[in-house]
Symmetry: D2
Subunit: 441 residues, 4 copies
């Protein structure tokens, strides 16, 4: 039962946040006249000694330390004596623990912020390095239209940009201080909650003490943001795994991010990408885990909420492992321009041919239909479109003229997609400029 | 297979958004010189006729209408002839469908916004109506400290406030126009994407055409916000079910929101609250559904994404049903002040007694311990705390003086929790003022 | 609220089961002497008239029909008068509804049984039709070792075999009759529960009336089996989508199971396979939905349990749509032997070379290492293994002799994997025989 | 990246299974003439030394030990030299790892089997100890009909019985040996797979080598069984938390399974039950985690599958912690017969009154309606049913006679529910006998 109940084994991670919260609380107690300035200083000094023990790895948990809060308080008592007993005045573990998690999480979100930006930086760098590389763009995993490699790569930039914004929003929403909510009803000792909030870097105080000890939305929101980010990483990974296969052959992961086989040296298993794809599972699982735990709970604090920490810690750890791997995987990616180019086929220009007819005044649906006939003819005759004679073209429509040959050019096709967000060089350059602007801000 | 592939049966809901998007697109085509002003007007008029058919329920789907887009286009063709074939110039179903869902969803989020506010309004009204009602506050479903009924009720206001903010953030993030992304590579016809965005009420255009057709984050974000909102409703429902039980007896749901039994008329099953608790399941299920679908997909458009709509529609329908029921359930709630008052026990004032000692200079931990002894003594002697003599109090500490009797007062206990967010009348009034301010803005 | 509470709109599907249950119940009432034989016959006749109305589509729901049970009872009353009021004697909606779902589900599981077997039949047929076709076997989506196409295809047979067994186990476990549990406490009218069970095709009666009305495990078990089956279909679909891409080119889906594009006729989007992959999402979502709903409920019947039906109906509908599509997709699959053969590379025989050395007495790890060196040498020299001279081989080990050439044979490699479950022709034939045996039983 | 890729930190748990598998494999290699009897003995002896190091905690992982398999092989090599390199002949990590997990899991399922039975034993013991205790049975958390406490308690026995059966089925299905599947294509060295299966306690061999290395159904099935078991525990926990509240007051958890508060000694927080309810979350989360990971994977082995272990280990650990706590919580539960009895109300006998009229020939629906009027009358007059005069009864129906008083008896009501599965003493005794029979078999 003790093992069942005990959370110290995982919640010790909160020690920094717990001590930070207690230092601020000691100051607030002194301001409210509940302890003296000397007591405050003694408490603060004792707390920094406890922190130092954690940081040096010398903190010795005692059997009775059921969680980080009792562990820190017990040790503080040993170090500074009975005055330690004043630190809990008007504070409950209920408001303490939720303050700790918020502080811990705000710090980790700042870390994720940097890791996301670094991944985005890697994407932009690779995009810049291969601006003129064309490849097939796919829909339904079928070759559809030619695109720039950099355009494909940058498409992932915007996924991560939304992740970044979502996690920033979550951080903003969580920066609300519940300390001073007591067990559930508030406190009666005149402690200045606004002071506590400022001292701990929160932007506001919570507005209702029952909600203050009960609310775990901020964790759910991060777990949800983490799950969506995991889905994004899984999609990027899927593309990389495909493109790194012998059949596609567009890219090659560097040795550091793949496992060679000493038996089959040609084999480079994209392990890092596969794990990145696979770990989407645990990120979704962690989200579901807390949603299920929270479902149907009565208000205020219930012990069930102790189950909020492990999924959170796992999601943070997982993301802090995945993002740097993703960034380096991108950064060290080798590309095979020849294989990409070889995968371009004339039929991928069918839309361009339809646009050619549209410009000559035919309704799109009809143009679409005509070009379809030409392409089918080519397939039946076993000829690439560029090998059809003008006469053959004109069999389908007199609007096909000599200049149809100009259309059969992958570069040209790509360059015509020059509206914002398109795959033309100018549009991609504008996209990169916009991306750099966002990263800088 | 046709049935397997066909989405018309559920995506017809998008007709309004689809036609709205097409009207704007017709205007953009004319601005780009691709169609004439007459053709534009003809298209727009035809589209409004199709819309009218949907609104009057006279639209007749044809067997070949595999989705709403082909249905509308087919009907438009019947109504206005071949010029209908020009509407798709440079547009693909890939960018069309995702534009439609965004438009549809933005409208529904505005509706949810109103429904949430109405629920919050009901909460605030009930809180105002029962400002002086005391009840036990619970932690671990054990009686902990007295709180105002209105304070408990308002604790749910803040959950819904966060939901509201989360959905507003999601709406902001989704208000980005992907139209003009083409199949995946952008378009080449000089259509003004900024114009399209303005015309359709978007705040910006999407920055990358591949991401434009591939991104379903905005749906995931709403499904996630919906799941969290569902968890909130399940927690409120759990409290109501408990409080409406014979054992608690604090509240009674109105007839309209419970099912009596003609056999046991005293029995009022809180069906509406139970369904509200139960429906958290489908809201979480819908989120998981799309996370799983999106996991591991390659970039750009894959047919799998057709599976994005049903969970979204179900989440929106469910919330649009649940929120008004929740609001009316709160609004029509009857309370039983006597039962609440009867559930208050002296031992719920133990923290107040400890604070009494703390104010006399004893460290909290020690005060806490002393009061514990008194309470235990009371239990053993079978006496309520208010029935102990001063001598008995002083057996535990000489600091207990005659004024200890003043502490044994539920009103006083509640009134002392007067810091912001606490359960004192003044704090609750301030809370209500803040709530009204937020609703007004 | 009425709309919120009402389940008729989806639970009308249970009409057949509901009426079947009522017919059996009428017989049991007569056997217990609670109604006369005439009343029984009248009830049974009335019930068949109600059933006929459902089957002919002439049943008219009334506004007060909140669920299928009240709908049937109301109509029965209209048809046969007050004796209808006797049908509910000793029966509660709580035991009635759960009996209905079990009956409904048992019937649908029998249908799924047949659909799974038909899919397996399609797999075996295709495997038999292409016994001599070799293709690369992949791990990590990298070419690993040559395998028979039929061996790959049969690997999916065994997934579906486990699904079949799992759903059969679930069916066995659910074939327990809860009728006679009353509202929750049992009944007091001497109705013979064993008779009811036999009459309705159950193998046993439930052992505890509270559990009888509360248990939804049998639905969870089917939703779980459905989710796992969905994952299997998603994996098969992923392989098909890959193999149907231009880059792999191993297979082609028939027109009926892909969408051509009139513009790009070479493009055959594998829509059916994509939807099959995507629908794994809703199957997992449905499972999660009911797990969340059931979590933390008190025992016996709670209205939350009304939420059990829609995920169940959706999972059954989805599977009943997916399985025939999967079977036909397999049955009509066209294969490209040349593309498969062209994808085989000498380096995929590296393990065979190591085994060659092992047979000459070298420890496997060392053999493995030696062959690795040869393969790397081949890559550096730009030579296929079959183009190395004996001298070159012997540079790495004198144990390589002229017969090493025999090893460089894909057929031989495959034929050597002749232990049970391996990819040799004999092993695959044995596998097919075993598969046919299982399907027959 | 190394940290990202490495699984040793969690998969070391498999050491016992890994070594067991290798010992059997060494025997099989010798039988196939690939190694000598001496080499076999040397390998086996070396492997037991490695196992001993794990068991004594002296095994030193090396930096290169990326997983348990390489760790064991590396250490074996150090202990017995190059012959260790022969152990991997014809075996791949792909078939090795999946064999290991099956062995590990079969052992843990046997442990869970015992833990479940012990929980069931505790339930039956408590049921036997309180056979004559009546309490309100609830539906919708409203008092419905009187039931025996033991009947309520036993209702949980059957949930756990189904869990037990489900996990037994899963164990049966998983007892299939994949060893000999090689990397994916089978092996070519004449190793006797049937021998391996027998040696390791499997009931059969896998039928297809690609499926053999790819199949993780057996884990999904256990995670699903674990999630359903978690839901069951959450429901039992919910009842206990309710019944232990001051408002219900039916039961009291022993000190060991609740947390007292030194401040409020009357407060006994049911922490163990709350955690039991909360941990349903992680059990569902673990299931979802692997479903998501597996979704959309291509066939055979992909590195993503490394993510199968942590959710499995967590589910097993969690259940192995929860079940003994649940058993002891039940075993040490104190009951308050007076509080249960006090919660019984006459109106809970309404169904019995209706049955009384039915026995006098009135259709149930009409009887139901009549009794409803009486109960409503009692409420309006403020009288318990037992306080109504015969004249008052007869105002509603002349069929009410003096013997109606006999019906107003909770014991009698309970005793009349004497059909199988009902709450009468005889039926409960039969239920216990059946439960004991199942536990014994």
């Amino acid at each position: 039962m003790e093992r069942f109940n005990r959370s110290f084994d995982f919640d010790w991670r909160l020690y920094g946040a717990d001590i930070q919260g207690s230092v601020a609380y000691a100051k607030a107690l002194a301001r409210a006249g509940i302890i003296t300035a000397e007591e405050r200083d003694l408490l603060i000094e004792g707390l920094s000694r406890v922190r130092a023990e954690f940081e040096c790895g010398t903190f010795q948990p005692a059997p009775g330390d059921e969680d980080i809060h009792t562990g820190v308080e017990r040790r503080l008592q040993e170090l500074i004596g009975p005055v330690a007993g004043k630190l809990h005045t008007g504070r409950s573990r209920n408001d303490q623990v939720v303050t700790d998690i918020r502080l811990y999480l705000m710090e980790h979100l700042d870390r994720l912020d940097g890791l996301l930006t670094d991944l985005q930086e890697a994407i932009v760098e690779q995009a810049e390095a291969h601006l003129d590389l064309l490849m097939p763009g796919y829909t339904h995993l079928q070759r559809a239209q030619p695109v720039r490699f950099s355009h494909w790569l940058l498409s992932t930039f915007w996924m991560f940009q939304r992740d970044w914004e979502r996690l920033r929003d979550a951080r903003h929403r969580m920066a609300v201080c519940p300390l001073g909510s007591g067990a559930l009803a508030g406190h009666s000792l005149g402690i200045d909650r606004e002071f506590l909030a400022r001292e701990l870097g929160f932007r506001a105080i919570s507005e209702n003490s029952i909600d203050g000890v009960s609310d775990r939305d901020f964790i759910l929101e991060v777990l949800s943001g983490g799950a969506i980010l995991g889905i994004h990483l899984s999609r990027l990974a899927e593309d990389l795994i495909l493109y790194a296969s012998a059949e596609f052959g567009f890219v090659e992961l560097s040795e550091a991010y793949s496992t060679g086989s000493s038996l089959m040296p040609q084999k480079k298993n994209p392990d890092s990408a596969e794990l990145m794809r696979g770990k989407a599972g645990r990120l979704v699982g962690n989200l579901v885990s807390l949603l299920v735990t929270a479902k149907g709970l009565p208000s205020a604090y219930d012990k069930d909420l102790q189950e909020d920490k492990e999924p959170l810690f796992d999601t943070l750890n997982t993301l802090e492992l995945m993002l740097p791997v993703a960034a380096e995987m991108i950064r060290t990616l080798r590309v095979h321009p020849d294989r990409m180019r070889a995968a371009l086929e004339d039929s991928m220009l069918a839309t361009d041919l339809a646009d050619y007819l549209v410009r000559k005044g035919i309704p799109f649906r009809q143009a679409h239909h005509l070009v379809g006939q030409v392409v089918r003819y080519g397939i039946e005759e076993g000829k690439a479109l560029r090998d059809l004679s003008l006469a053959e073209w004109q069999r389908f429509s007199p609007l096909f003229e000599a200049d149809v040959a100009d259309v059969l050019d992958f570069e040209r096709s790509v360059e015509q997609k020059d509206s914002p967000g398109g795959t033309a060089r100018s549009a991609v350059e504008a996209q990169i400029a916009r991306a750099r602007e966002l990263m800088a801000s």
